[in-house]
């Protein structure tokens, strides 16, 4: 192989330099493009995260309200089961009456209407002193089950002064049937 002249060497050097510069610029451009696309994806993710954060922030207040209501009713709706809900509610009501000094009479249960999101309804008869009956009515809201007292009938017992007879109709709500639309109250 013949020796290159200085002119040829200079040409080769210039060519190599030019190719190197082109490769550096081209590679740099490609790398920059890649990084720019990743940055765009990242910004998109950040925007999604910010939107999610805004959405969650709204729920922070709702969560506090839910916690307070759960504390008021002594109830966690997520733990209510449809299968045993009626039995557990009946047991809780009777325990509440017994602990409050109300003697229960006949208890009649009837299945609820699915359209009304009810698990069932109960009719109870009981008797007891005035404070016991009033206390029982008060505590029925917080027995740990979604109860609504549909009707109350209080009457005096002529044979037993100071005693009241109470007749309650209680509806047990079904949380599982609950949908987003609120039933007409």
């Amino acid at each position: 192989m013949r020796t290159l002249t200085s002119q040829e060497k200079r040409t080769v050097r210039l060519g190599v330099t030019g190719i190197a510069i082109y490769l550096i610029l081209f590679g740099g451009f490609k790398i920059w493009q890649f990084l720019a696309s990743r940055r765009a994806e990242y910004r998109n993710l950040v925007a999604q995260a910010e939107g999610l954060e805004q959405r969650v922030k709204i729920y922070e207040g709702k969560i506090l309200v839910v916690k307070k209501l759960m504390g008021d009713f002594h109830m966690d709706p997520a733990k209510l089961t449809r299968k045993t809900g009626m039995a557990e509610a009946s047991s809780a009501i009777q325990k509440s009456a017994a602990s409050g000094g109300v003697i229960l009479g006949p208890v009649r249960e009837s299945p609820g209407r699915p359209s009304s999101k009810e698990l069932g309804s109960m009719q109870l008869e009981g008797a007891g002193p005035v404070p016991a009956v009033m206390g029982w009515l008060y505590h029925l809201q917080s027995v740990g089950h979604p109860l609504i007292i549909d009707s109350v009938q209080i009457s005096s017992d002529p044979t037993r002064p100071g005693q009241l007879k109470v007749n309650l109709t209680i509806v047990v709500l079904d949380f599982e049937q609950w949908t987003k639309e609120v039933p007409n109250a």
């Binding site: 990242y42 005035v130 209080i154 005096s156 009241l164």
Partner: protein
């Protein structure tokens, strides 16, 4: 020129003698005469002149750091000492050396500019030496302060060394004992080396000017012609005789060093005097002229310093005016460091957003996916909230209605039965003191604002005409329209209610609701 050299600060070599200063910047250089006060310090005018001359040489680039001036000073006042320290001394070496210097030198270390060179220690039978040997080079600090001031006024950092030692760098291979004699105009410098280590340095008050004067006296010619004759080193017997006479003083000073077997000469007059000097010193001594390039104005000291810089990046021995400053400057050029830091910061500023995006994107995507998966719980929360709110809103206010009735019932009222339902219908049956009591009762119920409608369905006097049997019905207002039962009534005639049960929204139930018992059925008699 590569990038490193572009960013590196400029380095200038300067040799300062007793009567002149020579500077070398690349290929440019200058020589300036020095004017000294009787105490050896530079005059103010000389400092100004030197400063101006140096500024023209120190063309500092904006992007480079402070120019470093490697300055080789003359041998006058320089002292050499060999010191030994235990081999175990490794830390605080400087402090140990200072203690030794304080003991060995007549001046305290604070008044000295000094540097050191650790000498290679010889192993004995493969065992490391018990002591470390150091060569200490020192001179009075005030001898250098003038020079440092001049360089500082030009914005340069001065690094001082001894020119006599720097000349060794351009000295060819020599036997174990040799000496270098630099012949100046009025003063010569002699440094003796043993195994490449300087053992003695001395300034001799004899220079080329002495030869010129003797020649002029002996031959009766002007000094300029005598200088010319001296440099030509002709074979004229009268010239040689005069030269020998002039060299006698120098030879007398050198003969005290019998161990010198080889003498290297430098300086402007070296070439012309080497033959006569070798003859005068005798056959045991061999004299050689160092290729100093003095014809270009580059002295042996400058060339030696330049050789040191090219080989080691700095002089063999650095005289430190302040503690650890010169070493720092030499070991870590500031501008290069700052340039590297700036470049790194710029690169980081460019890449951090992209690198952050590339690195953090997978983590963020995973976290976002998991949050989206769990976002179904938000719907559950929404359901629970609606359910609980519905439950709260639909709780009928039975106890509130009883409380309002108890407050409104006139004395002597007897309620036989009371029926209420979720829709708000209330009906009761009982007996009251008279028709006026019924009217009052109904008025109070209406005034309470709790009921939307109150009607007396039937009112029948008892057979004894003392009481009235009554059957009433009412309907309470829907939630939101009823006043809170604990609030004072709007009608001032209605007395504030007694402490009653908490409202329906009460978060914690009272253990026993304090209801007035006299308004309950069968008790209001």
């Amino acid at each position: 020129m590569n990038g490193r050299s572009l960013m590196a600060p400029a380095c200038i070599c300067v040799e300062i003698g007793q009567s002149s200063m020579r500077a070398l910047n690349g290929t440019q250089g200058f020589q300036q005469p020095l004017e000294r006060l009787p105490n050896g310090r530079l005059t103010t005018s000389c400092k100004d002149r030197l400063s101006k001359a140096l500024q023209s040489l120190l063309e500092r680039k904006l992007w480079s750091g402070r120019t470093r001036v490697f300055c080789a000073v003359g041998a006058r006042g320089v002292s050499l000492r060999r010191l030994s320290l235990p081999a175990s001394v490794d830390q605080d070496l400087r402090q140990h050396l200072l203690l030794q210097i304080e003991a060995e030198f007549p001046l305290p270390p604070d008044e000295l500019a000094w540097g050191y060179l650790e000498l290679p220690s010889a192993n004995v039978n493969g065992v490391a030496a018990a002591k470390r040997e150091f060569l200490i080079v020192a001179l009075r600090k005030d001898q250098l302060e003038d020079y440092a001031e001049v360089f500082a006024s030009c914005g340069a950092v001065a690094v001082f060394t001894v020119a006599a030692i720097s000349r060794n760098s351009i000295c060819p291979r020599a036997p174990s004992d040799y000496a270098i004699l630099d012949i100046g105009l009025r003063q010569s410098e002699l440094v003796v080396f043993h195994e490449g280590v300087p053992t003695m340095v001395r300034a001799i008050a004899w220079g080329g000017e002495n030869v010129t004067k003797v020649l002029a006296e002996h031959l009766g010619i002007p000094l300029a012609e005598a200088e010319k004759l001296k440099l030509e080193s002709g074979s004229d017997e009268r010239v040689q005789t005069a030269t020998d006479a002039a060299l006698a003083t120098l030879v007398g000073a050198l003969n005290g060093r019998r161990t010198i077997t080889r003498l290297f000469l430098s300086g402007r007059s070296a070439s012309s005097l080497v033959g006569r000097l070798e003859k005068l010193l005798g056959p045991a001594s061999q004299c050689t002229v160092l290729q100093s390039g003095s014809a270009d104005g580059h002295s042996a000291g400058l060339l030696g310093l330049k050789a040191d810089l090219e080989r080691d990046g700095g002089p063999t021995i650095v005289l430190q005016l302040k503690a650890d400053t010169a070493g720092t400057v030499l070991s870590q050029p500031a501008p290069r460091k700052w340039a590297a830091v700036a470049a790194a910061l710029a690169l980081a500023a460019l890449l951090i957003p992209s690198v952050g995006a590339v690195v953090l994107q997978p983590f963020l995507a995973r976290k976002l996916a998991s949050i989206k998966t769990e976002s179904g719980r938000l719907a559950t929360i929404e359901r629970e909230l609606r359910f609980l709110q519905y439950l709260k809103q639909t709780q009928p206010p039975y106890l509130d209605a009883l409380y309002v009735m108890a407050k409104a019932a006139p004395p002597g009222t007897r309620i036989d039965s009371l029926t209420m339902n979720q829709r708000g219908d209330l009906s009761f049956k009982g007996a009251m003191g008279g028709s006026q009591a019924v009217v009052d009762f109904r008025t109070k119920l209406i005034d309470s604002g709790f009921f939307a409608r109150v009607s007396v369905e039937e009112q029948t006097p008892t057979p004894d005409r003392q009481r009235v049997n009554v059957r009433m019905s009412a309907e309470w207002k829907p939630a939101g329209f009823r006043p809170p039962v604990s609030d004072p009534p709007a009608n001032p005639e209605v007395k504030p209610p007694l402490p009653g049960p908490k409202p329906v929204a009460s978060p914690t139930p009272a253990p026993t609701p304090p209801r007035p018992a006299d308004a309950t059925p069968g008790k209001k008699e």
